[in-house]
């Protein structure tokens, strides 16, 4: 039996009823497009987070006071207080695997410059913070250790703050701004970093010595975070272990006490977010797959209806020499052609939708090749599975009865 002929027969049969074929494959088209788009959104966000976290340096280690790391939730310095300057000093003295250490406190407030003002946040850190975060200046200088010692009222501005608190063209370096009523001299402008993985504007920040923020604004001696960069990518695990030991001693914890701090490497953070977005992707895909199943059921229904409607045609084909298997294969191929064509259109639609999402919603998307291949495969299977039973029914018709069918 000639495969080409069968393909021809099935294809011509579908062509006779283009509208119906299209409506039948609509379920598959939507299902596949949804899967492709959902996976692309999930993968896009995952990659974007990964890129973000990687760009901060894979040797960066974040120390937080006693918190379960949820998705980036930051704790107020006033609620949990366990990290102090003694910890920082202990780490500086004892840690062999750390190359830079910076404590951090932050607060929100209003920046005022003459007639302009802007709500923003201020991060109090040590000069090493910029090394750890791989953040460069586009103008000016960073504050010094003596600035830290004197709690000098100096600061570095992010580009968003500059854009909103200064007139265009004005050079902020050397000017004095007020933050929560306290005057600060601007000594530098940070290079632009753009949005982070959570959609927050990283350039909407003011950086100042931590002592300044602690003493003059927050009146606290505690830190919200301590940032450490390991000597290189391979020593991060060693650094983490070392840090834990040092801090436990510094906090005078007994062996049975739990840590009142949390040490996380960038890698762990990446993995946490990866697994979250992985879960999200899986959920979204599962939902989209349901519509694929519905599409398959739609194919099966239409094929059954089609078989009934074409009973006389089937009788005719049998009378001129089609065997049961010829009829079965014809209808099966029709179902597979519908589902594969639907799959192709769905893939094209899914890719287009992903691109539109990126263009209009500015969400990152990454179309994954494996999702395309998998969808295709599932489509073919759907066609075979949902097309088989109607095809079998068609092949078992009695030609005499079929020819008589009204």
């Amino acid at each position: 039996m000639n495969v080409f002929n069968l393909l021809r027969i099935a294809w011509r049969a579908l062509q006779r009823n283009r509208l119906r074929a299209f409506l039948t494959m609509l379920g598959i088209i939507i299902g596949v497009a949804a899967v492709i788009a959902m996976v692309a959104i999930g993968q896009g966000s995952k990659k974007s987070i990964q890129d973000q976290l990687s760009s901060m340096g894979s040797n960066m280690i974040t120390i937080r006071p006693n918190s379960n790391v949820t998705a980036g939730a930051r704790l107020d310095a006033t609620t949990v207080q366990t990290l102090t300057l003694d910890d920082v000093k202990a780490l500086q003295k004892q840690s062999q695997y750390s190359s830079a250490i910076s404590p951090a406190v932050s607060t929100r407030g209003q920046v005022i410059n003459g007639a302009l003002n802007w709500p923003t946040s201020m991060q109090g850190v040590s000069p090493q913070f910029l090394d750890i975060r791989k953040w460069e200046l586009q103008e000016g200088v960073i504050f010094s250790e003596s600035d830290v010692a004197t709690a000098a009222k100096v600061c570095l501005l992010g580009t968003t703050v500059v854009a909103n608190a200064f007139t265009p063209g004005e050079n902020p370096v050397g000017k004095i701004i007020r933050f929560n009523k306290i005057p600060f001299t601007v000594i530098g402008v940070l290079k632009s970093k753009g949005e982070n993985a959570f959609g927050q504007d990283q350039d909407d920040i003011i950086i100042a010595p931590y002592t300044t923020v602690q003493k003059r604004i927050l009146a606290t001696t505690y830190f919200q975070n301590i940032y450490v960069s390991a000597t290189n990518a391979n020593t991060t695990q060693l650094a983490t272990a070392e840090i834990s030991t040092i801090l436990r001693t510094s906090h005078r914890l007994k062996p049975t006490d739990e840590d009142d701090f949390a040490v996380r490497t960038q890698e762990e953070l990446i993995n946490t977010f990866s697994s979250t977005s992985q879960l999200l992707t899986v959920l979204l895909t599962a939902i989209a797959s349901i519509s694929l199943i519905v599409g398959g059921i739609g194919i099966m229904n239409i094929m059954y209806v089609s078989v009934t409607e074409r009973t006389r045609e089937i009788g005719l084909r049998m009378s001129i020499g089609a065997r049961g298997i010829d009829i079965l294969l014809q209808f099966l191929i029709e179902a597979i052609l519908i589902s594969i064509t639907g799959g192709l259109i769905g893939v094209a639609l899914g890719i287009t939708a992903s691109k539109l999402v990126t263009t209009f919603l500015s969400w990152p998307t990454l179309v994954s090749q494996s999702s395309i291949v998998l969808s295709f495969f599932v489509c073919a299977l759907t066609g075979v599975f949902f097309g088989y039973y109607p095809a079998q029914k068609a092949s078992r018709l009695d030609p005499i009865e079929a020819l008589r069918y009204e």
């Binding site: 000639n2 011509r12 006779r16 006389r312 084909r317 049998m318 009378s319 001129i320 020499g321 010829d326």
Partner: protein, 249 residues
């Protein structure tokens, strides 16, 4: 011309409908040679449809033997019967049974699609040739809804001829046509029979149609009532010529 196309030996066919048994054929005997033009006549319930189905290898007798071109169909599998239908029989139905939205050419090619031995080129050539012999060469691309009833039936006849069967089996082929068109079809049948030597078995209940054949078998209540040669066989062409041309299409 002693080539026996059909050998029907004491065929019986029974159908079980629930608890009742319907005996549609109660012992039918006849033989058909190559080149004959035979009509099978009978009223409803005479068993002619059942006989047609058996002759067409769509059904098997409950008892008795039927040999088509030497092959006993009682021993054949379903697939083998399909092959026989494809190679040896050309069906023409009362309702034409053409595929809708499909050109005449493709309709005629259809039986050849189920024959793996024929290439696409051959298929096309044979189909064109068949349409030429029914005088529809100028309407190859027309779909059934662009053809009149008579033209559609001619396409069906071309389809029946395309695989060069040993016999054409027609079931009330003129049943849906008006009298003028019926005669045109019968003229075509006679031509196929006389100039090309095709064996034709025509089932009908209309005596004036049967008058165009060489031989008539009359069935009644599942048995052969009469098996006669038509002495006064008419020429459909002549009959056509004698009908006053009323409305011309």
């Amino acid at each position: 011309m002693g080539n026996k196309i059909l050998e029907v030996r004491n065929i019986k066919r029974e159908f079980k409908m629930g608890t009742e048994t319907v005996r549609a054929l109660k012992g039918v005997n006849f033989e058909v040679n190559a080149g004959e033009f035979l009509t099978i006549m009978g009223s409803s319930g005479s068993g002619k449809t059942t006989l047609l189905n058996i002759l067409g290898c769509l059904d098997k007798p409950t008892e008795g033997e039927y040999l088509l071109d030497g092959t006993n169909i009682g021993s054949q599998s379903r697939n083998a019967l399909a092959r026989l239908r494809n190679h040896k029989i050309g069906f023409v139905f009362q309702a034409y049974n053409l595929l809708a939205r499909t050109s005449a050419l493709e309709n005629v090619e259809l039986p050849l699609l189920y024959n793996a031995e024929i290439s696409a080129k051959e298929r096309r050539e044979k189909a064109v040739h068949a349409l030429e012999s029914v005088k529809l060469a100028d309407r190859l691309d027309h779909t059934p809804n662009q053809l009149s009833g008579g033209q559609q039936q001619r396409v069906a006849i071309a389809r029946a001829l395309v695989n060069e069967p040993v016999m054409i089996l027609a079931d009330e082929a003129t049943g849906n046509l008006d009298s003028r068109t019926s005669y045109e079809i019968m003229a075509l049948m006679q031509e196929l029979n006389q100039t090309q030597g095709k064996t034709i078995v025509f089932v009908t209940h209309e005596p004036d149609i049967a008058a165009f054949s060489n031989r008539t078998i009359m069935l009644r209540d599942g048995k052969v009532l009469r098996d006669t040669v038509n002495e006064g066989r008419k020429s459909a062409k002549d009959v056509l010529a004698s009908i006053p041309a009323a409305d011309d299409y």
